[in-house]
């Protein structure tokens, strides 16, 4: 039995210390996921709290399938909570074909990777429109297919593809501008 399993078993029994250990282990990663979907940090914190409550309620039903399975499961709950939040809060997150601003063009294909940190990338992702951001997150980070995204977001598969393409172009353009100006606002001020 791994330590992870032990923590889960104790959480099911209602051990608050185990719950704290579970929170401390996964909260930073899961808050990172929330911040990719929702720009406002207070919203991201609320989503994290809701997600943890859902996790706690469903712990009994979770079946351990080896290392990584807990994180995968918790991550899925956080992603679903974020999507629900966006659906409720951001009614304007309409996935339409012509949502793309006309002046957005693909950035240069130069390699920008070494010059941008993870925190800066998160900040740039947060600046994308909600629809673009959601499709980009689901496709790139959660490995959902366009078919799955279309079901999740209630749109067509081609719509999801075009959203991803435009998100990519806009993100790359913003990234180039950012590298040129180098004005950065921290994603999350650690205390």
């Amino acid at each position: 039995m791994t330590n992870e399993q032990e923590i889960l078993k104790r959480c099911i029994k209602g051990d608050n210390r185990a719950l704290t250990a579970l929170y401390d282990r996964y909260a930073p990663k899961l808050l990172g996921v929330c911040l990719r979907y929702v720009p406002a940090k207070s919203d991201a914190e609320d989503i994290l709290q809701d997600a943890f409550i859902k996790i706690l309620r469903n712990l009994e039903r979770f079946e351990y399938r080896g290392e990584g399975s807990v994180e995968g499961w918790m991550r899925r709950i956080v992603v679903n909570s974020s999507l629900n939040f966006l659906r409720d809060r951001e009614k304007n997150m309409v996935l339409v074909e012509n949502m793309m601003p006309a002046d957005v063009e693909a950035g240069d294909e130069d390699d920008v990777s070494p010059r941008v940190s993870p925190e800066e990338i998160i900040r740039l992702i947060q600046q994308l429109p909600a629809g673009y951001r959601t499709v980009l997150n689901l496709f790139v980070f959660e490995h959902y297919s366009h078919k799955e995204i279309s079901v999740l977001l209630n749109c067509s598969e081609s719509n999801s593809k075009s959203q991803l393409l435009r998100a990519r172009m806009l993100l790359k353009k913003n990234m180039m501008q950012f590298i040129a100006n180098k004005e950065f606002v921290p994603v999350y001020e650690k205390q």
Binding site: T20, K29, R65, G68, D111, I121, V140, F141, E142
Partner: protein, 420 residues
């Protein structure tokens, strides 16, 4: 990698592992909320256990009550009876009447003290049969013995000879060892309308994700109240269903173990003419950077608790068979989910994520039941009920709306009913 796009791959590798530790006050707030939720979950579990226990207690107490009513309490009856009788059942509406043939006992002989008793005995010896009309009349003045007043009536054949005055003799209640017919057990009037039973109900579900595993087994205990032609039935049932859950695994393939060069040290050979390198290696597991997908299935068993409230109307009744309609709501609570198959193993591959494609099942849902009941009277106390049902599920059995149409099912309930 999966994205097949250097830019998206760069995004994933850079920002995919981004972490942001919650500030101390946020952490405190979250942990407080979680502790509160833990307490709520504990209370909910207690409530659920209490519900189950009370249901079990209800069934046990009903059974006990019924069993106690079967055997009348006779502790307060004494063995030396003045008159014992062999009761003869006589159908009567409302009040219970018993005709008794008296036989004298030794105690009676020893107690012939009064002239009236002597006269009675003389008559008894002379007359072969005297009918006694026994009427229930609890005498609270005698705490040790419950006595019944008996009114002696002249035998019909003697009506022409002489008039026998009616006398009252106090008789004790029947001895517990005396043979009594089951039909003469003491039954409270209100409980006559109740009946208990056990049932087994196979159910075939439709409009679920798993079309190969439709059969659900239901069995349980029930209590019903009836005032012909209407009836109300409730109880506790356990429902066992199975289903297949699809899991999508994202993983990196294990390419094996490679020798990783940790360091190299150089030293002169013994002759001091050559520099000899020493290589230090360590083993490292290497995974493919490409992401693979696979979908596996596991079978799960779901244990539900069902609490129905069924209203009935019997439109046809004969001595042997009655037929009627049944309808009502059924509440179903998911008690437990267990996995029947072993966990799928991906060997030494590195699991990145697991997505459960089949949604989880709801912990509570409601159904409406419509059925046609046929009751076969097996004996005075036992009935057999056969009841085909159609059940409509008000909400999906899954947490997400996995199918567009709501589930429905066909089932046949067969129950053995005991009248209390």
């Amino acid at each position: 990698m999966k994205n097949n796009d250097p830019f998206l791959d760069f995004l994933e590798s850079t920002a995919g592992t981004y972490e942001a530790a919650p500030p101390a006050d946020v952490r405190r707030r979250h942990l407080a909320a979680l502790a509160e939720e833990t307490a709520a979950i504990r209370r909910k579990r207690l409530r659920r256990t209490g519900l189950l226990l009370s249901a079990v207690l209800m069934v046990v107490s009903t059974t006990l009550f019924w069993w106690l009513n079967q055997t009348p309490s006779m502790e307060d009856c004494f063995s030396n009876q003045i008159v014992s009788y062999q009761p003869v059942e006589k159908a009567a509406q409302g009040a219970r009447e018993v005709l008794a043939s008296p036989t004298t006992t030794a105690l009676e002989t020893s107690r012939e003290a009064t002239p009236l008793q002597k006269e009675n005995r003389t008559f008894d010896q002379q007359l072969p049969a005297i009918e006694f009309e026994v009427k229930e009349h609890p005498l609270t003045l005698l705490p040790v013995r419950k006595l019944l007043p008996v009114v002696a009536k002249p035998h019909a054949s003697l009506s022409g000879f002489r008039k026998i005055p009616a006398k009252v003799i106090l008789l004790p209640m029947p001895d517990s060892t005396a043979p009594t017919k089951p039909s003469q057990r003491k039954v409270m009037p209100w409980i006559e309308n109740f009946s208990a039973g056990v049932h087994y109900t196979p159910e075939w579900m439709f409009n679920t994700l798993d079309q190969t595993d439709r059969l659900v087994h239901n069995f349980g205990a029930e209590l019903s109240w009836s005032k012909k032609p209407f009836s109300v039935r409730s109880g506790v049932s356990v429902s066992l269903a199975t289903g297949v859950t699809d899991l999508a695994y994202t993983y990196n393939e294990n390419l094996g173990v490679k020798q990783k060069l940790d360091s190299v040290s150089f030293a002169w050979d013994e002759e001091g003419r050559k520099i000899v390198p020493t290589w230090y290696f360590s083993e490292k597991t290497v995974f493919d950077t490409a992401t693979d997908f696979t979908v596996t299935s596991v079978r799960k068993r779901y244990l539900y608790l069902q609490i129905p409230l069924i209203l009935g109307f019997d439109f046809h009744q004969t001595q042997r068979v009655s037929m009627g309609l049944r309808a009502g709501p059924v509440m179903q609570i998911l008690l437990n989910t267990s996995q029947l198959d072993a966990n799928p193993s991906l060997g030494n591959n590195r699991v990145i994520s697991i997505n459960q494609l089949t949604p989880e099942r709801l912990s509570l849902h409601w159904q409406a039941l419509f059925g046609f009941n046929t009751t076969f009277v097996l004996s005075k106390r036992f009935n057999l009920e056969i009841e085909p049902h159609v059940k409509y599920y008000f909400n999906s059995v899954y947490e997400k709306a996995a199918t567009r149409q709501k589930p429905w099912s066909l089932e046949v309930r067969s129950a053995l009913i005991i009248k209390l």
